[in-house]
């Protein structure tokens, strides 16, 4: 049976939980570039990755989609890498590469057989030092990004849910728009604006370089100094995002989608940053509610009462705020209200009673399994190291975050549910088929 995959990938929130004991070493170059090295010689692989602390939330409200667009532009070439050569160089050397943009950061990576470490460093340093940003690239990528939006959002069933949720949950904070942004804004953007964006954000003091895999540490440090040391430092970046007013009354909203036949019901709550302990408690609550066949919502709504085809609780965590989303697809004659009512009963139970010792132990086992699997590949470890340092402010969380989860009590689960998951603090979105 096919599962419905929500287009939540656009948001690319930090779904990194924790890691196995990962040894690493970190330091700063004089120009402010933070470097993290992780040596693991068990496989002939090396990952060279750079994360920039710039995402959709750093955009001008009239230029949404800029950060993601920029990610596309930075594959167009550099002073020493011709236009169209980037992918060729990677392939010609047996590597793989890509990049992703979220509301909080932009991440570029290459994974090569380990004899191409220097090549990876050269490419990323080229991109940081002197990318070529010109009108040809802007024009081409403008079309490509539009196709990306059509592919992932406009042509996909349930593709616009996130857009609607964000708009209703955030009124002031720039999380209110989507990462892919507005095509009109991108059409209006000038080359000068792109150049200014590069100058401001794509600087070593706003970036982290992670090198992980089969490396010799001393040699690697020297190469990093050679390739990145001369890149000039940029101006200090001050971030000052508005604070949202608390939601005190239920927000009722409706949206339509021409690509669907079965409506969906979404409830969404604004919750705190993934850096907080509360956010981690909410992770546990969403696992309790909907992860696995014995989870309370699945068991009750899908299995026993046959009211829903699918039900999901997702804690979409981000740097400044998170969004806690509960999503249901009704089955047969079930109304959307009935689904909300059933979900509320279970949330109220969490708010009132302690979950059972058995369920608590189940959560701990699930989080331990996730922890073990989260650092299973070199590329995965590189991404986690960068994320924990840049967005969480503590690289070692790759090893210690599991301890936070272990220390969360049943009482905290109850209290956090009580604090955030109340009917008057949420959005209720009816997501309906477009009527003809």
């Amino acid at each position: 049976m096919k599962k419905i995959v929500l287009a939540l990938t656009l948001m690319l929130c930090g779904l990194t939980f924790y890691a196995q004991q990962v040894k690493f070493e970190e330091y700063d170059l004089p120009n402010g570039l933070h470097v993290i090295l992780h040596q693991d010689n068990s496989a002939p692989v090396v990952a060279t990755t750079v994360m920039y602390h710039v995402g959709a939330k750093d955009e001008n409200p009239d230029r949404t989609g800029f950060a993601h667009f920029f990610e596309h532009l930075l594959f167009e070439g550099t002073e020493n890498i011709g236009r169209g050569e980037w992918f060729k160089i990677v392939s010609n050397n047996g590597g793989q590469n890509n990049a992703t943009t979220s509301d909080d950061r932009t991440y570029y990576y290459e994974v090569f057989p380990s004899n191409n470490l220097e090549l990876g460093l050269w490419m990323e340093s080229e991109r940081m030092l002197h990318p070529i940003i010109n009108q040809i690239g802007v024009d081409t990528q403008n079309e490509v990004v539009k196709e990306e939006k059509r592919l992932r959002v406009d042509n996909q069933p349930y593709g616009k849910i996130l857009e609607v949720v964000k708009k209703d949950i955030f009124k002031k904070h720039p999380y209110r728009w989507t990462t892919i942004g507005s095509m009109d804004h991108l059409d209006a953007a000038t080359l000068d604006e792109f150049l200014a964006f590069n100058k401001k954000y794509y600087v070593p003091n706003n970036a982290i370089l992670v090198v992980a895999g089969n490396i010799e540490v001393d040699k690697t440090k020297k190469m990093i100094a050679d390739y990145f040391g001369s890149i000039p430092q940029g101006e200090k970046i001050v971030k000052n995002f508005p604070t949202e007013d608390p939601i005190t009354q239920t927000i009722n909203s409706k949206a339509t989608d021409p690509n669907i036949q079965i409506p969906a019901i979404i409830t969404a709550y604004r919750t705190p940053s993934f850096k907080t302990r509360d956010a981690r408690v909410l992770d546990m609550i969403s696992t309790y509610l909907s992860d696995g066949k014995s989870s309370v919502l699945y068991k009750k709504l899908v299995d026993e009462k046959k009211m829903a085809l699918q039900v999901l609780a997702i804690n979409l965590s981000q740097e400044d705020y998170s969004t806690y989303i509960v999503f249901g697809l009704p089955m047969g004659g079930t109304t959307l209200d009935q689904i909300v009512a059933e979900i509320d009963v279970e949330i109220q139970k969490i708010q009132t009673d302690l979950i059972s010792e058995n369920d608590y132990q189940k959560l701990q086992n699930k989080f331990e399994n996730q922890f073990v699997n989260s650092n299973a590949s070199i590329a995965g470890i590189a991404g986690n190291l960068a994320t924990f340092h840049m967005l969480y402010g503590d690289t070692n969380l790759i090893n210690t975050e599991i301890e936070i989860y272990r220390s969360i009590t049943r009482e905290e689960i109850r209290d956090v549910a009580k604090k955030y998951l109340n009917a008057n603090q949420r959005l209720v979105l009816e997501y309906l088929p477009e009527s003809k």
Binding site: L121, S294, M331
Partner: protein, 693 residues
């Protein structure tokens, strides 16, 4: 037990980097090739036929278990979906553990066990491995298949189908496979609400008994385990699995289309067209052509460095990505598919580029650079795949199931490296068809079809379940309750009465068409009952451009000074034509008329009347529902299996000698549209017999 060997990597790259001072204008050279280790799993076999592969890897405290049933594909036919419903039911309890207890325990251990119609996969922390293996074995050998679960899964499946009902991509994937293989082949059939409804619990039990058998079963266990422990555990958990062999039915081998064609599926909600250019190929992993084919496909559409991506995305910006792929299968042909999702406006242009790239890789040798790059990509991904311990198990499983030589993967890089540019061209010609391509396009007809029609590729239409259908742009008709006699009577009444029409012996029409050519084309048309007609097209200062003259018995066609006598079919057509009110002649001359329905034309609702000539040729005439007037005629011509319609819209009726005659005629043939406005029309004057000689 464990055999390890070393293979020198990157025969392709030679060179060392010993530069003290960096020169960033030069691309760094790779260091010495890393040495790679290709371990082999330890194996054993149970008496019932189950083969077990064990890869010990203690890096992380986890274990993955996968059960693969290498059964022959099987057509589910009118019960398509039986394996899916079964997959939803199995793994929910066993004959000795209730469903709730089973699911609760799997979740409690933090593990996952997922079943499909052809196996199962589990992941667990190593400390819970023995229990998870036991649960998985019990689920496999003694599943709880109850009526209640059966109904539930069926209902969910039907509801689930609805969520994809309007999905353009889901429709596209379904039709692409169904058209390539046919709906009566296991690879072409698909699940629908009807087929799900046909399934009974007995079908589920039969499916289980037939296919969940150990003869072709492989159990791979990878991770933090000890071989001796695994052996004991597997023996105690799986030995009671009863010996049986799954059915092995053969199906006919599907064939490619006879000529390149577009297969169009209309999805009115589409904002992008799904394009899949496909043909069938027969290739197994063990075929010598397999490696050259991998390389040829890699160069054509294997990724971000391949031609399709560079052309359709990086150069033209038509799509977010364009790729091609080839599979491999030991039993049946697989598909070569080149595909992209492109915005509506560039659908036709994208088709042109796909065809161009496929032609190019067939007709021209790839460059040495292209070849080198493709080889490097494979070598790199091969090396990097070894990071994952499951790769070892996958390689070993392939050797067993695909009948490969033992050293297949040890010599993998050497085989990649041996491919030449000549090999690439040879396999491109053999496997990528030029004249037998099926181009499946799923998109919005109103926006993309006119462009596709102009490509001169025959188009066939299908609905989203791969059934042949009509051109979606042919306007829909509604059924009506009116006879053809009544329609014709209404028509004569509208133009001034049958007697007035009968009294018309000649018509003279003079007019011009603007826009069809850089200069106005002047029309002079003279007609006389029953079938005499001369049409002269001229232009100011250029004289006669074209003339067709027919005197009732013979005639000629003249263009640019060349004169051609009418003969054969053309002559017969002229003889049978009735330029003045053909409605007067239909009955007497044996034409058959029938009402097709009401259609919405630009000029309003009209009755569509099919006129079948005595020799069986159909044309259509549209009479205004309100006005009664003739609004449009339609002629269909067959060209290379493609139906090309020719329409003439008639408007601006004015009275001449008491009869209403259209003063504007707009003809459409394919993409061409000609609007003729008549400035002068005379009845029973201005035309003489002499005009037709």
């Amino acid at each position: 037990m464990k055999t390890k060997f070393f293979i020198p990597l990157f025969l392709l790259f030679i060179g060392l980097t010993v530069n003290a001072q960096i020169d960033r204008s030069k691309q760094p050279k790779p260091g010495p090739a890393p040495e790679i280790q290709l371990g082999k799993p330890q194996t054993f076999k149970l008496n019932n036929g189950l083969k077990v592969l064990v890869v010990e890897n203690h890096k992380l405290p986890r274990v993955n278990i996968s059960l693969t049933l290498d059964n022959a594909p099987y057509l589910e036919g009118t019960k398509a979906g039986v394996s899916d419903v079964f997959a939803g039911m199995i793994g929910n309890g066993t004959t000795s553990i209730s469903k709730d207890a089973y699911n609760e325990e799997v979740d409690f251990l933090g593990a996952s066990i997922n079943f499909s119609g052809s196996g199962a996969f589990a992941n667990t922390l190593s400390k819970y491995f023995p229990r998870v293996l036991t649960l998985m074995a019990d689920g496999t050998l003694n599943p709880l298949l109850t009526e209640e679960e059966f109904q539930k899964e069926k209902d969910k499946m039907i509801e689930g189908l609805k969520t994809d009902e309007k999905s353009v991509t889901a429709a596209a994937r379904r039709v692409e496979a169904a058209l390539a293989y046919g709906k009566t082949h296991p690879y072409g059939e698909f699940v629908s609400e009807e087929t799900v409804k046909n399934i009974t619990l007995q079908d589920i039990q039969t499916f289980y008994q037939n296919f969940f058998v150990p003869e072709n079963a492989y159990l791979a266990i990878v991770g933090d385990v000890k071989f001796e422990d695994v052996k004991k555990l597997v023996e105690s958990n799986f030995s009671s699995w009863k010996i049986a062999v799954a059915p092995n039915v053969s199906y006919s081998i599907p064939k490619d289309v006879q000529y390149t064609q577009i297969n169009f599926v209309d999805m009115p909600n589409a904002v992008q067209s799904e394009i899949a250019v496909e043909n069938l190929i027969k290739v197994k992993l063990s075929d010598p052509d397999y490696f050259p084919l991998l390389i040829a496909n890699n160069i054509l559409g294997g990724g971000a460095n391949a031609r399709l991506f560079l052309n359709l995305r990086e150069d033209k910006g038509f799509t977010y990505g364009a790729y091609s792929r080839v599979g491999n299968d030991k039993r049946y042909p697989v598909r070569f598919v080149a595909s992209a999702s492109v915005r509506n406006a560039v659908t036709d242009s994208s088709v042109v580029e796909f065809i161009k790239e496929i032609k190019k890789i067939r007709d021209e040798k790839v460059t040495a650079d292209d070849l080198k790059s493709a080889k490097a990509e494979y070598a790199g991904s091969f090396v990097m795949s070894l990071e994952n311990p499951q790769t070892q198990a996958r390689f070993a499983l392939n050797i067993l199931t695909e009948n490969l030589p033992q050293n297949f993967y040890e010599t993998y890089l050497a085989k990649i490296n041996a491919v030449t540019v000549e090999d690439v061209q040879r396999v491109a010609k053999k496997y990528f068809q030029a004249d037998h391509l099926r181009i499946v396009i799923t998109g919005k007809a109103t926006e993309v079809l006119p462009g596709l029609q102009a490509l001169n590729i025959p188009i066939f239409y299908f609905d989203k379940y791969a059934n042949p259908t009509e051109n979606p742009l042919t306007k829909k008709t509604e059924t009506v309750n009116i006879s053809t006699d009544e329609i014709l009577e209404k028509y004569f009444k509208a133009i001034g009465g049958r007697e007035k029409a009968v009294a018309v012996k000649t018509i003279y029409r003079k007019g011009s068409a603007v826009g069809a050519a850089p200069f106005p084309i002047l029309f002079d048309i003279r007609s006389m009952t029953p079938n005499k007609e001369v049409q002269t097209l001229s232009a100011e200062g250029m004289g006669t451009l074209q003339k067709v003259s027919f005197n009732g018995e013979s005639g000629y066609q003249e263009a640019q000074g060349q004169k051609k006598v009418l003969e054969g079919e053309e002559l017969a057509k002229q003889k049978a034509s009735r330029p003045i009110f053909p409605e007067l002649f239909f009955k007497a001359e044996g034409y058959k008329l029938s009402v097709e329905g009401v259609e919405k034309l630009d000029a309003g609702d009209a009755y569509k009347v099919k006129v079948t000539s005595p020799d069986g040729k159909d044309t259509y005439r549209y009479y205004g529902k309100e006005s009664g007037l003739l609004l449009q005629t339609e002629d269909t011509m067959e060209m290379q299996g493609m139906s090309l319609s020719q329409t003439e819209e008639l408007s601006d009726y004015k009275e001449v000698n008491g009869v209403k005659i259209p003063f504007v005629s707009t003809s459409t043939v394919g993409p061409q549209k000609i609007k003729v406005v008549f400035s002068e029309i005379k009845i029973n004057e201005g035309v003489s017999e002499a005009d037709f000689n």
